[in-house]
Symmetry: C2
Subunit: 353 residues, 2 copies
């Protein structure tokens, strides 16, 4: 009776070691180890015995001990610099992490989250990452000129970036097609008869900001008009900045009949200003955003927006890193994922022209 009760309780106290598993299975520690490292040189009989012993004892290998001898940590660092969660809109962070996590989990790798919030943190980060605490690093590149990725790479630490870095180094990265997304957005505006198309850009010291502006210019130029800088107004991805930029554009160009915003949040700010200025959307002014975040469907009218495959970006980043880990190579691969335009009411055919 007593014995049974004890046996029914979850294993408490010190975790069982491989040694104990081996003893219960009646084999040597080495053989037991081979079972857990997927070494083929084990007889079916021994394998079964070890597996049963492990299950009985609820054995889980001690990762620290394994790491100490193999040098592998089976964990991946994800570096997200502080401003990211503030600047990027709503589905960004969870979507990215979800995609990454999905791929890593399948390989039994752990995701270690690193969010340096100060310069001191960032300094420590390099030491931490190059000290072999992780097998590889994923980074969301905000400021394209961050020297950290290249330095890690030079120390032999595999790195994959999310978002195009501004330099032209040997870095591997995954990006969404910001240029193409912006271009199709503006082409859509041209195709629906808009003549005076302005843009509210993101910060121009960031790859995303630059690229989305580039796409806008490409489309404008291709449409026959020559790009006019006065139709471009910079924002910081925030709602307030979108409002301010919109007002500036209206003051400068009362005739504008469309605006492409580099983020949905800025577009929401722009909509507010247009309303105050008694411009009807989309009849007088068409608006297109970027990100296709949840706010796109909650504005009035609902916001046309460029959707980016954020989760797929996470998956692809993880896949690239795993490929690097497996092959040992570290060539600078680039993957650019397609974006797509989701048309909603805010860019419906206008009634002004």
């Amino acid at each position: 009776m007593y014995k049974e009760t004890v046996r029914a309780l979850p294993q408490i106290g010190p975790a069982p070691t491989l040694e104990e598993v081996a003893k219960v299975a009646g084999v040597s520690r080495a053989t037991a180890s081979r079972v857990f490292t997927a070494n083929p040189k084990v007889s079916p009989r021994a394998r079964r015995a070890v597996e049963r012993a492990a299950e009985k004892l609820m054995y889980v290998p001690n990762r620290a001990a394994r790491t100490l001898v193999t040098g592998r940590t089976d964990s991946i660092g994800l570096v997200i610099p502080e401003p990211t969660s503030l600047l990027f809109g709503d589905p960004f962070f969870p979507g990215l992490v979800r995609g990454i996590s999905e791929v890593l989990t399948r390989r039994q790798l752990q995701l270690v989250l690193l969010m340096p919030q100060s310069t001191a943190d960032e300094t420590r980060l390099e030491g931490y990452l190059s000290a072999g605490h992780v097998d590889g690093v994923l980074m969301v590149s905000l400021h394209g000129n961050d020297p950290l990725p290249e330095r890690l790479l030079r120390r032999g630490m595999p790195v994959v970036l999310g978002g195009r870095p501004s330099g032209n180094g040997p870095l591997t990265y995954v990006d969404v097609d910001n240029v193409g997304g912006a271009r199709i957005a503006v082409e859509h505006l041209i195709a629906t008869g808009r003549k005076h198309i302005a843009t509210i850009t993101g910060p121009l010291d960031m790859g995303v900001g630059i690229d989305r502006l580039q796409g806008y210019r490409d489309a404008i130029r291709q449409g026959g008009n020559h790009a006019d800088g006065s139709y471009e107004q910079a924002g910081d991805f925030g709602q307030e900045s979108g409002a301010v930029a919109m007002q500036a554009l209206l003051d400068r160009h009362p005739e504008l009949d469309a605006v492409f915003c580099a983020s949905d949040v800025m577009a929401a700010g722009a909509l507010e200003i247009l309303r105050r200025n008694r411009r009807r959307v989309p009849q007088d002014v068409a608006v297109v955003g970027f990100d296709d975040s949840t706010i796109a469907t909650s504005t009035v009218p609902a916001l046309s927006s460029v959707r980016q495959p954020i989760e797929e970006m996470g998956r692809e980043m993880a896949r690239l890193l795993l490929a690097t880990l497996d092959s040992g190579t570290s060539g600078g691969k680039r993957v650019v994922l397609a974006t797509e335009l989701v048309v909603r009411a805010s860019s419906g055919r206008g009634g002004r022209e």
Copy 2:
């Protein structure tokens, strides 16, 4: 010349060990170790020598080796079950993680992110967490009845939950005052003259859903009216469900002049339906949401909403876990953080009465 060049290059190759640091410093490994473990029994002279040697060699302690002997991992697991990122609105995930990360970073603890995406993952999770891969566990409790937290606790693994669990166990948790938040929202509606106040609830198998409904009922009852179930309609926190619920409420109670929604996203859906039904907001119907997410300021009219201190919740969770770790105790502490109402246009004084 050559020498200097070599010295200027970053330390490549195998990471330096404590042994090497000790040799350079001219002390024993034990003494060097004492320096890094903040052991006071080291002479200033020896300490300085070790510190200089460590800096010169760019020494970073090997975490695996340290873990192996101390049993501590200096890392904390954060468990976020799959549906969380989908169900919860926009600032939830980043804000929470940011708060947690802030506190852990100060203590040089790593955050290991665990997002079980399948039942198989969840099964593995218990083994992983109880195998001593982390020193403590933070969990976002979705389904209040998840048995995992209690089982981990029983195995001696400190656990702190985010969100009230439905059971009455010895679990330590941090929650925001959902009841109070909902109550002040509805009290605000009553105070501004609303007579027929409906609610769109969250899923009623979740603590948040239940609590926000409770707060609504408390306020209604306190306002003299007796709660009438037909004014309550359940949603799933999603926009579409908010729209459906709103329509159902309007069909049932054309006279309603206010609706309290358990999430901003549902409120956005409700606004859409009210517009289609030619109900002016706030003149005919006042709307209040919950979460104070970014969409609250992008709807028309801007949404009054209950703000919850998500980042503080993260910080508090981390602090409670650290306290448990430090003291060794594991008593079921509860912390409830205050919520506050942010009044915007959607609940302005109406014009119907």
